[in-house]
Protein backbone atom coordinates (compact mmCIF):
# COMPACT_ATOMS: atom_id res chain seq x y z
CA UNK A 1 0.00 0.00 0.00
CA UNK A 2 1.28 3.45 -0.83
CA UNK A 3 0.83 6.29 1.64
CA UNK A 4 1.57 9.98 1.34
CA UNK A 5 3.31 11.79 4.09
CA UNK A 6 3.74 15.54 4.37
CA UNK A 7 7.02 14.96 6.23
CA UNK A 8 8.66 13.52 3.15
CA UNK A 9 11.52 15.56 1.76
CA UNK A 10 12.05 16.65 -1.81
CA UNK A 11 15.09 14.97 -3.31
CA UNK A 12 17.41 16.48 -5.93
CA UNK A 13 20.31 15.26 -8.04
CA UNK A 14 22.95 17.82 -7.15
CA UNK A 15 25.90 16.37 -9.04
CA UNK A 16 26.59 13.61 -11.54
CA UNK A 17 29.45 12.15 -13.55
CA UNK A 18 30.07 9.28 -15.93
CA UNK A 19 33.42 7.88 -17.01
CA UNK A 20 34.03 7.17 -20.66
CA UNK A 21 32.72 3.69 -21.56
CA UNK A 22 34.78 1.05 -23.35
CA UNK A 23 37.40 -1.57 -22.64
CA UNK A 24 40.09 -0.38 -20.28
CA UNK A 25 42.50 -3.21 -19.55
CA UNK A 26 44.78 -2.29 -16.68
CA UNK A 27 42.24 0.11 -15.13
CA UNK A 28 40.63 -1.40 -12.04
CA UNK A 29 36.95 -1.15 -11.19
CA UNK A 30 37.84 0.70 -8.00
CA UNK A 31 39.82 3.37 -9.79
CA UNK A 32 37.02 3.87 -12.35
CA UNK A 33 34.50 4.18 -9.51
CA UNK A 34 36.75 6.49 -7.51
CA UNK A 35 37.26 8.74 -10.56
CA UNK A 36 33.47 9.02 -10.87
CA UNK A 37 32.99 9.84 -7.17
CA UNK A 38 35.57 12.63 -7.09
CA UNK A 39 34.22 14.16 -10.30
CA UNK A 40 30.60 13.93 -9.09
CA UNK A 41 31.57 15.71 -5.85
CA UNK A 42 33.14 18.46 -7.94
CA UNK A 43 30.05 18.67 -10.15
CA UNK A 44 27.89 18.90 -7.01
CA UNK A 45 30.25 21.44 -5.43
CA UNK A 46 30.25 19.54 -2.14
CA UNK A 47 32.94 17.90 -0.01
CA UNK A 48 33.40 14.17 0.46
CA UNK A 49 32.88 14.64 4.22
CA UNK A 50 29.33 15.90 3.58
CA UNK A 51 28.18 12.54 2.17
CA UNK A 52 26.09 10.60 4.72
CA UNK A 53 25.78 7.18 3.03
CA UNK A 54 26.71 5.23 -0.12
CA UNK A 55 24.58 2.85 -2.19
CA UNK A 56 26.82 1.01 -4.65
CA UNK A 57 25.47 -0.99 -7.61
CA UNK A 58 27.46 -3.69 -9.41
CA UNK A 59 26.87 -7.23 -10.64
CA UNK A 60 30.15 -9.01 -11.35
CA UNK A 61 32.54 -7.28 -8.93
CA UNK A 62 32.23 -9.65 -5.98
CA UNK A 63 31.98 -9.14 -2.26
CA UNK A 64 32.11 -5.62 -0.81
CA UNK A 65 32.97 -4.08 -4.17
CA UNK A 66 31.49 -0.72 -3.15
CA UNK A 67 33.81 -0.68 -0.16
CA UNK A 68 36.80 -1.15 -2.47
CA UNK A 69 35.67 1.83 -4.56
CA UNK A 70 34.99 4.04 -1.55
CA UNK A 71 38.26 2.87 -0.01
CA UNK A 72 40.10 4.53 -2.91
CA UNK A 73 38.48 7.85 -2.04
CA UNK A 74 38.90 7.32 1.71
CA UNK A 75 36.64 5.82 4.36
CA UNK A 76 34.75 8.33 6.48
CA UNK A 77 32.77 6.00 8.73
CA UNK A 78 29.53 6.26 6.74
CA UNK A 79 27.48 3.18 5.78
CA UNK A 80 28.20 1.57 2.41
CA UNK A 81 25.48 -0.70 1.05
CA UNK A 82 26.29 -2.95 -1.93
CA UNK A 83 23.40 -3.46 -4.34
CA UNK A 84 23.15 -6.28 -6.88
CA UNK A 85 19.95 -6.24 -8.94
CA UNK A 86 21.15 -7.40 -12.36
CA UNK A 87 20.77 -4.76 -15.10
CA UNK A 88 18.72 -2.58 -12.72
CA UNK A 89 21.46 -2.41 -10.06
CA UNK A 90 22.30 1.26 -10.70
CA UNK A 91 18.64 2.33 -10.64
CA UNK A 92 18.10 0.28 -7.48
CA UNK A 93 21.05 2.00 -5.77
CA UNK A 94 19.55 5.34 -6.90
CA UNK A 95 16.14 4.38 -5.55
CA UNK A 96 17.59 3.41 -2.15
CA UNK A 97 19.53 6.71 -2.00
CA UNK A 98 16.37 8.61 -2.98
CA UNK A 99 14.21 6.85 -0.37
CA UNK A 100 16.75 7.33 2.43
CA UNK A 101 16.71 11.09 1.83
CA UNK A 102 12.99 11.34 1.16
CA UNK A 103 12.21 9.59 4.45
CA UNK A 104 14.51 11.93 6.32
CA UNK A 105 17.25 9.43 7.21
CA UNK A 106 20.05 11.29 5.43
CA UNK A 107 20.67 14.70 3.84
CA UNK A 108 23.26 13.87 1.18
CA UNK A 109 23.82 10.44 -0.33
CA UNK A 110 26.03 8.98 -3.06
CA UNK A 111 24.56 6.51 -5.55
CA UNK A 112 27.17 4.80 -7.69
CA UNK A 113 27.18 2.09 -10.35
CA UNK A 114 30.32 0.51 -11.76
CA UNK A 115 31.34 -2.55 -13.72
CA UNK A 116 34.14 -4.23 -15.58
CA UNK A 117 32.41 -6.76 -17.77
CA UNK A 118 33.42 -10.37 -18.30
CA UNK A 119 34.13 -10.80 -22.04
CA UNK A 120 31.69 -12.50 -24.43
CA UNK A 121 27.92 -12.83 -24.01
CA UNK A 122 26.84 -12.14 -20.45
CA UNK A 123 27.04 -15.30 -18.31
CA UNK A 124 23.81 -14.65 -16.46
CA UNK A 125 23.30 -16.87 -13.44
CA UNK A 126 19.75 -15.57 -13.04
CA UNK A 127 18.63 -18.99 -14.27
CA UNK A 128 18.17 -22.37 -12.51
CA UNK A 129 21.15 -24.68 -13.05
CA UNK A 130 19.31 -27.13 -15.34
CA UNK A 131 18.39 -24.25 -17.68
CA UNK A 132 22.05 -23.16 -17.78
CA UNK A 133 23.10 -26.73 -18.65
CA UNK A 134 20.54 -26.79 -21.47
CA UNK A 135 21.76 -23.52 -22.98
CA UNK A 136 18.71 -21.41 -22.08
CA UNK A 137 20.75 -18.44 -20.77
CA UNK A 138 21.69 -16.80 -24.09
CA UNK A 139 20.03 -13.38 -23.72
CA UNK A 140 19.93 -12.56 -27.45
CA UNK A 141 18.10 -15.90 -27.92
CA UNK A 142 15.61 -15.08 -25.19
CA UNK A 143 15.07 -11.65 -26.73
CA UNK A 144 14.72 -13.36 -30.12
CA UNK A 145 11.73 -15.32 -28.81
CA UNK A 146 10.14 -12.13 -27.48
CA UNK A 147 10.95 -10.38 -30.75
CA UNK A 148 9.20 -13.06 -32.77
CA UNK A 149 6.16 -12.80 -30.53
CA UNK A 150 6.16 -9.01 -31.13
CA UNK A 151 6.53 -9.46 -34.90
CA UNK A 152 3.68 -11.96 -34.92
CA UNK A 153 1.37 -9.74 -32.85
CA UNK A 154 2.05 -6.36 -34.40
CA UNK A 155 3.63 -7.00 -37.79
CA UNK A 156 6.96 -5.36 -36.91
CA UNK A 157 9.84 -6.18 -39.25
CA UNK A 158 13.60 -6.64 -39.02
CA UNK A 159 13.90 -3.26 -40.80
CA UNK A 160 12.03 -1.65 -37.89
CA UNK A 161 14.50 -3.17 -35.42
CA UNK A 162 17.45 -2.07 -37.57
CA UNK A 163 16.12 1.52 -37.45
CA UNK A 164 16.41 1.48 -33.64
CA UNK A 165 20.13 0.69 -33.99
CA UNK A 166 20.52 3.36 -36.68
CA UNK A 167 18.88 6.04 -34.49
CA UNK A 168 20.75 5.12 -31.33
CA UNK A 169 24.12 4.81 -33.05
CA UNK A 170 23.52 8.24 -34.63
CA UNK A 171 22.85 9.66 -31.14
CA UNK A 172 25.87 7.80 -29.80
CA UNK A 173 28.06 9.43 -32.45
CA UNK A 174 27.35 12.71 -30.56
CA UNK A 175 28.25 11.25 -27.16
CA UNK A 176 32.01 11.44 -26.43
CA UNK A 177 31.59 8.88 -23.62
CA UNK A 178 29.86 6.17 -25.70
CA UNK A 179 31.74 2.99 -26.58
CA UNK A 180 30.60 3.25 -30.22
CA UNK A 181 30.61 6.75 -31.76
CA UNK A 182 30.00 5.74 -35.35
CA UNK A 183 26.82 5.70 -37.45
CA UNK A 184 25.48 2.48 -38.92
CA UNK A 185 23.00 1.98 -41.78
CA UNK A 186 19.95 -0.28 -41.97
CA UNK A 187 21.87 -2.39 -44.50
CA UNK A 188 24.85 -2.78 -42.17
CA UNK A 189 22.57 -3.94 -39.36
CA UNK A 190 20.78 -6.44 -41.64
CA UNK A 191 24.10 -7.80 -42.93
CA UNK A 192 25.79 -8.15 -39.54
CA UNK A 193 26.40 -11.64 -38.14
CA UNK A 194 23.37 -13.61 -36.99
CA UNK A 195 23.40 -14.21 -33.23
CA UNK A 196 19.97 -15.78 -32.70
CA UNK A 197 17.48 -15.33 -35.53
CA UNK A 198 16.11 -12.75 -36.15
CA UNK A 199 18.62 -10.84 -33.99
CA UNK A 200 21.98 -9.89 -35.47
CA UNK A 201 25.09 -8.49 -33.88
CA UNK A 202 24.09 -4.85 -34.51
CA UNK A 203 20.69 -5.44 -32.86
CA UNK A 204 22.54 -6.28 -29.62
CA UNK A 205 24.20 -3.87 -27.22
CA UNK A 206 27.97 -4.21 -26.81
CA UNK A 207 29.59 -4.82 -23.46
CA UNK A 208 31.72 -2.10 -21.89
CA UNK A 209 33.39 -1.06 -18.66
CA UNK A 210 32.25 2.12 -16.96
CA UNK A 211 31.19 3.91 -13.80
CA UNK A 212 28.62 6.57 -12.92
CA UNK A 213 28.37 8.48 -9.63
CA UNK A 214 25.56 10.73 -8.50
CA UNK A 215 25.06 12.96 -5.46
CA UNK A 216 21.49 13.21 -4.16
CA UNK A 217 20.42 15.73 -1.54
CA UNK A 218 17.38 17.40 0.01
CA UNK A 219 19.16 20.78 0.19
CA UNK A 220 20.28 21.75 -3.30
CA UNK A 221 22.87 24.49 -3.23
CA UNK A 222 22.88 25.51 -6.88
CA UNK A 223 20.36 26.04 -9.67
CA UNK A 224 21.64 23.10 -11.69
CA UNK A 225 20.00 20.64 -9.27
CA UNK A 226 17.30 18.44 -10.83
CA UNK A 227 14.34 17.25 -8.74
CA UNK A 228 13.59 13.53 -8.53
CA UNK A 229 9.84 13.33 -9.14
CA UNK A 230 9.66 9.57 -8.52
CA UNK A 231 11.79 6.44 -8.43
CA UNK A 232 10.01 3.08 -8.61
CA UNK A 233 11.19 -0.53 -8.69
CA UNK A 234 8.93 -3.48 -9.50
CA UNK A 235 10.40 -6.99 -9.31
CA UNK A 236 8.27 -9.62 -10.97
CA UNK A 237 4.53 -9.93 -11.65
CA UNK A 238 3.12 -13.43 -11.35
CA UNK A 239 2.21 -15.08 -14.63
CA UNK A 240 4.00 -12.67 -16.97
CA UNK A 241 6.77 -14.07 -19.15
CA UNK A 242 10.32 -12.90 -18.48
CA UNK A 243 12.33 -14.87 -20.99
CA UNK A 244 15.45 -13.00 -19.80
CA UNK A 245 14.89 -14.63 -16.38
CA UNK A 246 13.92 -18.10 -17.58
CA UNK A 247 10.21 -17.53 -16.87
CA UNK A 248 7.45 -18.43 -19.34
CA UNK A 249 3.94 -16.95 -19.33
CA UNK A 250 1.14 -18.58 -17.38
CA UNK A 251 -1.39 -19.80 -19.92
CA UNK A 252 -4.45 -19.64 -17.65
CA UNK A 253 -3.42 -16.92 -15.20
CA UNK A 254 -1.86 -14.16 -17.28
CA UNK A 255 -1.71 -10.89 -15.27
CA UNK A 256 -3.83 -7.89 -16.22
CA UNK A 257 -0.82 -5.58 -15.75
CA UNK A 258 2.80 -6.40 -16.61
CA UNK A 259 5.89 -5.41 -14.67
CA UNK A 260 6.81 -2.46 -16.92
CA UNK A 261 3.25 -1.11 -16.98
CA UNK A 262 3.03 -1.45 -13.18
CA UNK A 263 6.31 0.35 -12.50
CA UNK A 264 5.42 3.09 -15.00
CA UNK A 265 1.92 3.60 -13.56
CA UNK A 266 3.32 3.90 -10.03
CA UNK A 267 6.06 6.28 -11.18
CA UNK A 268 3.53 8.54 -12.97
CA UNK A 269 1.19 8.46 -9.95
CA UNK A 270 3.93 9.40 -7.51
CA UNK A 271 5.28 12.12 -9.82
CA UNK A 272 1.78 13.47 -10.45
CA UNK A 273 2.20 13.39 -14.21
CA UNK A 274 1.52 11.14 -17.19
CA UNK A 275 3.39 9.97 -20.28
CA UNK A 276 2.10 13.06 -22.15
CA UNK A 277 4.15 15.27 -19.77
CA UNK A 278 7.49 13.57 -20.51
CA UNK A 279 9.85 15.38 -22.90
CA UNK A 280 12.83 13.03 -23.10
CA UNK A 281 13.21 9.28 -22.45
CA UNK A 282 15.97 6.77 -21.85
CA UNK A 283 14.33 3.42 -22.67
CA UNK A 284 15.81 -0.05 -22.22
CA UNK A 285 17.48 -1.05 -25.48
CA UNK A 286 19.82 -3.91 -24.57
CA UNK A 287 18.37 -5.39 -27.77
CA UNK A 288 16.99 -2.95 -30.37
CA UNK A 289 13.47 -4.44 -30.57
CA UNK A 290 13.14 -4.06 -26.80
CA UNK A 291 13.17 -0.26 -27.15
CA UNK A 292 10.02 -0.41 -29.28
CA UNK A 293 7.89 -2.46 -26.91
CA UNK A 294 9.35 -0.55 -23.98
CA UNK A 295 8.13 2.78 -25.40
CA UNK A 296 4.68 1.21 -25.81
CA UNK A 297 4.55 -0.35 -22.33
CA UNK A 298 5.64 2.95 -20.73
CA UNK A 299 2.46 4.44 -22.17
CA UNK A 300 3.91 6.73 -24.86
CA UNK A 301 1.82 5.14 -27.62
CA UNK A 302 -0.50 2.19 -28.28
CA UNK A 303 0.92 -1.34 -28.41
CA UNK A 304 2.36 -1.97 -31.84
CA UNK A 305 2.52 1.74 -32.78
CA UNK A 306 6.20 2.42 -31.96
CA UNK A 307 7.73 1.16 -35.25
CA UNK A 308 5.68 3.64 -37.31
CA UNK A 309 6.46 6.54 -34.94
CA UNK A 310 10.15 5.61 -35.18
CA UNK A 311 9.94 5.76 -38.99
CA UNK A 312 8.29 9.19 -38.71
CA UNK A 313 11.20 10.48 -36.61
CA UNK A 314 9.20 11.03 -33.41
CA UNK A 315 11.98 9.45 -31.31
CA UNK A 316 14.84 11.35 -32.99
CA UNK A 317 16.74 14.10 -31.16
CA UNK A 318 14.62 16.61 -33.12
CA UNK A 319 11.36 14.65 -32.70
CA UNK A 320 8.55 15.29 -30.25
CA UNK A 321 9.75 12.49 -27.90
CA UNK A 322 13.51 11.91 -28.16
CA UNK A 323 14.44 8.40 -26.95
CA UNK A 324 17.92 7.25 -25.91
CA UNK A 325 19.55 10.57 -26.61
CA UNK A 326 23.00 9.40 -25.47
CA UNK A 327 22.93 6.44 -27.87
CA UNK A 328 21.36 4.03 -25.41
CA UNK A 329 22.85 0.72 -24.47
CA UNK A 330 23.31 0.05 -28.20
CA UNK A 331 25.98 2.77 -28.51
CA UNK A 332 27.06 3.42 -24.96
CA UNK A 333 27.60 -0.23 -24.08
CA UNK A 334 26.31 -2.21 -21.14
CA UNK A 335 28.33 -2.38 -17.92
CA UNK A 336 25.53 -4.06 -15.96
CA UNK A 337 25.92 -2.35 -12.60
CA UNK A 338 26.40 1.13 -14.13
CA UNK A 339 23.92 1.08 -17.02
CA UNK A 340 20.74 2.11 -15.20
CA UNK A 341 22.50 5.00 -13.46
CA UNK A 342 23.93 6.16 -16.81
CA UNK A 343 20.37 6.43 -18.12
CA UNK A 344 19.48 8.72 -15.19
CA UNK A 345 22.74 10.67 -15.75
CA UNK A 346 21.71 11.42 -19.34
CA UNK A 347 18.27 12.67 -18.25
CA UNK A 348 19.96 14.98 -15.71
CA UNK A 349 22.27 16.38 -18.43
CA UNK A 350 19.33 16.91 -20.80
CA UNK A 351 17.24 18.70 -18.14
CA UNK A 352 20.21 20.90 -17.23
CA UNK A 353 20.77 21.71 -20.89
CA UNK A 354 24.31 20.29 -20.69
CA UNK A 355 24.04 17.48 -23.26
CA UNK A 356 26.20 19.20 -25.86
CA UNK A 357 25.62 18.28 -29.52
CA UNK A 358 22.85 15.86 -28.58
CA UNK A 359 20.91 18.38 -26.45
CA UNK A 360 17.17 18.25 -27.15
CA UNK A 361 15.04 21.38 -27.16
CA UNK A 362 14.23 22.69 -23.67
CA UNK A 363 13.05 19.52 -21.88
CA UNK A 364 11.46 19.96 -18.43
CA UNK A 365 10.56 16.37 -17.47
CA UNK A 366 12.46 13.20 -18.35
CA UNK A 367 12.05 9.48 -17.71
CA UNK A 368 14.63 6.68 -17.46
CA UNK A 369 13.63 3.02 -17.60
CA UNK A 370 15.85 0.06 -16.80
CA UNK A 371 14.89 -3.56 -16.65
CA UNK A 372 16.48 -6.93 -16.89
CA UNK A 373 16.91 -10.36 -15.42
CA UNK A 374 15.22 -11.10 -12.15
CA UNK A 375 12.96 -9.66 -13.47
CA UNK A 376 13.20 -6.02 -12.50
CA UNK A 377 11.69 -2.85 -13.91
CA UNK A 378 12.92 0.50 -12.56
CA UNK A 379 11.35 3.80 -13.62
CA UNK A 380 12.82 7.15 -12.59
CA UNK A 381 11.17 10.49 -13.42
CA UNK A 382 13.17 13.70 -13.10
CA UNK A 383 11.98 17.28 -13.33
CA UNK A 384 13.78 20.56 -13.87
Amino acid sequence: MMVNNAQWKDVYVQGTYTTKWGFFPGVSTSSMGAEAIVAALKDAQIKWGEVDAVFAGSVYQGTASGHRVVGEVGFTGIPIVNVENACSSGATAFRLAYDSIRLGQYKTVLAIGFEKMPRGPIPSTAFPSWQLAMGFNVQPANYALETMEYMHQYGATVEDFARVSVKNRRNGSLNPNARFQKDVTVEEVLQSAMVASPLRLLNCCPLADGAVAMILTNKPTNDRAIRVASSVLASGVYGEESYQSGITASVHHYPSEGIVEKSAREAYEKAGCGPEDIHVVQAYDSMGPGELWDIEKLGFCARGAAPELLREGVFDLTGSLPVNTDGGLLSRGHPLGATALAQIHEIVLQLRGEAGHRQVSDPKVGLAHAMGAGPNSAVTILQR
Binding site: L132, N137, P140, A141, H152, S197
Partner: protein
Protein backbone atom coordinates in the same frame (compact mmCIF):
# COMPACT_ATOMS: atom_id res chain seq x y z
CA UNK B 1 35.72 -54.30 -31.73
CA UNK B 2 34.57 -54.40 -28.17
CA UNK B 3 31.19 -52.86 -27.72
CA UNK B 4 31.46 -50.72 -24.62
CA UNK B 5 28.18 -50.20 -22.83
CA UNK B 6 27.73 -46.46 -22.27
CA UNK B 7 25.62 -45.38 -19.37
CA UNK B 8 22.93 -42.78 -20.10
CA UNK B 9 22.37 -40.29 -17.31
CA UNK B 10 19.79 -37.46 -17.24
CA UNK B 11 21.06 -33.88 -17.14
CA UNK B 12 18.98 -33.47 -14.00
CA UNK B 13 16.94 -35.99 -12.01
CA UNK B 14 13.23 -35.41 -11.76
CA UNK B 15 12.63 -33.65 -15.09
CA UNK B 16 11.06 -36.66 -16.83
CA UNK B 17 10.32 -40.37 -16.32
CA UNK B 18 9.73 -43.33 -18.58
CA UNK B 19 6.29 -44.91 -18.36
CA UNK B 20 5.24 -48.51 -18.94
CA UNK B 21 4.45 -47.57 -22.55
CA UNK B 22 8.18 -46.74 -22.90
CA UNK B 23 7.35 -43.13 -23.64
CA UNK B 24 9.04 -40.38 -21.67
CA UNK B 25 6.84 -37.92 -19.81
CA UNK B 26 7.84 -34.59 -18.31
CA UNK B 27 7.11 -34.44 -14.59
CA UNK B 28 5.33 -31.41 -13.17
CA UNK B 29 3.10 -30.11 -10.43
CA UNK B 30 -0.53 -29.04 -10.56
CA UNK B 31 -2.49 -27.04 -8.02
CA UNK B 32 -5.69 -28.76 -6.92
CA UNK B 33 -7.10 -25.40 -5.85
CA UNK B 34 -6.52 -23.13 -8.88
CA UNK B 35 -5.40 -25.52 -11.61
CA UNK B 36 -2.06 -23.77 -12.23
CA UNK B 37 0.70 -26.04 -13.52
CA UNK B 38 4.45 -25.92 -13.02
CA UNK B 39 7.47 -27.39 -14.74
CA UNK B 40 9.78 -28.66 -13.41
CA UNK B 41 7.78 -30.14 -10.53
CA UNK B 42 7.87 -28.11 -7.35
CA UNK B 43 9.50 -29.74 -4.36
CA UNK B 44 7.94 -27.11 -2.08
CA UNK B 45 4.21 -27.67 -1.65
CA UNK B 46 3.15 -24.07 -2.26
CA UNK B 47 1.28 -22.80 -5.30
CA UNK B 48 3.06 -19.72 -6.68
CA UNK B 49 -0.25 -18.53 -8.15
CA UNK B 50 -2.87 -18.95 -5.36
CA UNK B 51 -0.42 -19.47 -2.45
CA UNK B 52 -2.18 -22.61 -1.18
CA UNK B 53 -0.40 -25.80 -0.08
CA UNK B 54 -2.28 -27.94 -2.56
CA UNK B 55 0.19 -29.16 -5.19
CA UNK B 56 0.12 -32.66 -6.64
CA UNK B 57 2.60 -34.31 -8.99
CA UNK B 58 1.51 -34.90 -12.57
CA UNK B 59 2.96 -36.32 -15.78
CA UNK B 60 2.55 -34.31 -18.97
CA UNK B 61 1.52 -36.11 -22.16
CA UNK B 62 4.58 -34.88 -24.05
CA UNK B 63 2.62 -33.41 -26.95
CA UNK B 64 2.10 -29.78 -27.80
CA UNK B 65 2.95 -27.08 -30.29
CA UNK B 66 5.95 -24.84 -30.65
CA UNK B 67 5.03 -21.15 -30.14
CA UNK B 68 8.27 -19.54 -31.33
CA UNK B 69 11.76 -20.74 -31.99
CA UNK B 70 15.20 -19.39 -32.74
CA UNK B 71 18.55 -20.80 -33.76
CA UNK B 72 21.34 -19.96 -31.32
CA UNK B 73 24.54 -19.36 -33.29
CA UNK B 74 26.85 -18.51 -30.36
CA UNK B 75 28.30 -20.59 -27.56
CA UNK B 76 26.40 -19.76 -24.34
CA UNK B 77 28.66 -17.97 -21.87
CA UNK B 78 29.73 -19.21 -18.50
CA UNK B 79 30.79 -22.77 -19.47
CA UNK B 80 27.52 -24.28 -18.22
CA UNK B 81 26.42 -25.61 -21.62
CA UNK B 82 28.32 -28.56 -23.13
CA UNK B 83 26.05 -29.46 -26.04
CA UNK B 84 26.46 -28.68 -29.72
CA UNK B 85 26.24 -25.17 -31.20
CA UNK B 86 24.26 -24.01 -33.13
CA UNK B 87 21.07 -25.37 -31.62
CA UNK B 88 17.38 -24.68 -31.98
CA UNK B 89 15.62 -23.25 -28.95
CA UNK B 90 12.08 -22.16 -28.32
CA UNK B 91 8.90 -22.24 -26.27
CA UNK B 92 6.53 -25.20 -26.44
CA UNK B 93 2.94 -25.05 -25.24
CA UNK B 94 2.02 -28.50 -23.95
CA UNK B 95 -1.51 -29.76 -24.58
CA UNK B 96 -2.17 -29.54 -20.84
CA UNK B 97 -1.73 -25.76 -21.16
CA UNK B 98 1.71 -24.86 -19.82
CA UNK B 99 4.51 -23.08 -21.67
CA UNK B 100 8.02 -24.46 -21.27
CA UNK B 101 11.44 -23.62 -22.68
CA UNK B 102 13.02 -26.43 -24.65
CA UNK B 103 15.62 -27.21 -27.22
CA UNK B 104 14.10 -28.51 -30.44
CA UNK B 105 15.54 -31.34 -32.51
CA UNK B 106 17.41 -29.58 -35.28
CA UNK B 107 15.12 -29.67 -38.26
CA UNK B 108 15.24 -26.83 -40.76
CA UNK B 109 11.59 -27.39 -41.67
CA UNK B 110 10.21 -26.96 -38.14
CA UNK B 111 8.18 -23.76 -37.83
CA UNK B 112 6.14 -21.85 -35.27
CA UNK B 113 2.70 -23.30 -34.52
CA UNK B 114 3.77 -26.80 -35.63
CA UNK B 115 2.74 -29.80 -33.52
CA UNK B 116 5.67 -31.34 -31.60
CA UNK B 117 6.33 -34.31 -29.35
CA UNK B 118 8.85 -34.88 -26.60
CA UNK B 119 11.91 -37.09 -27.03
CA UNK B 120 14.87 -37.91 -24.80
CA UNK B 121 18.16 -37.54 -26.66
CA UNK B 122 21.87 -37.18 -25.96
CA UNK B 123 22.99 -33.60 -25.21
CA UNK B 124 26.71 -34.38 -24.84
CA UNK B 125 29.18 -37.06 -23.76
CA UNK B 126 31.11 -36.86 -20.54
CA UNK B 127 33.67 -39.52 -19.51
CA UNK B 128 31.91 -42.83 -20.16
CA UNK B 129 28.44 -41.27 -19.90
CA UNK B 130 25.89 -40.02 -22.37
CA UNK B 131 24.23 -37.02 -20.74
CA UNK B 132 20.58 -37.04 -21.82
CA UNK B 133 18.08 -34.22 -22.14
CA UNK B 134 14.49 -33.80 -23.21
CA UNK B 135 13.83 -32.00 -26.48
CA UNK B 136 10.83 -31.63 -28.76
CA UNK B 137 10.63 -32.68 -32.40
CA UNK B 138 8.03 -32.42 -35.14
CA UNK B 139 5.17 -34.82 -34.35
CA UNK B 140 6.07 -37.87 -36.45
CA UNK B 141 2.54 -39.27 -36.62
CA UNK B 142 1.29 -36.01 -38.12
CA UNK B 143 4.12 -35.72 -40.62
CA UNK B 144 3.57 -39.28 -41.88
CA UNK B 145 -0.12 -38.44 -42.09
CA UNK B 146 0.61 -35.43 -44.26
CA UNK B 147 2.81 -37.48 -46.56
CA UNK B 148 0.12 -40.20 -46.91
CA UNK B 149 -2.50 -37.60 -47.75
CA UNK B 150 -0.25 -35.97 -50.31
CA UNK B 151 0.45 -39.11 -52.30
Amino acid sequence: MANIERKAIPIMDGLWQMEADDNPHLMGSRCRACGEMFFPRKTLNFCMHCHKESLEEILFSGKGRVLMLTKVERQPAGGFYKGEVPYTYGIVQLDEGINIFSQLVDDSTLSADERVEMVVVKLYEEDEHDVMTFKFKADSTLREGVRDDGE
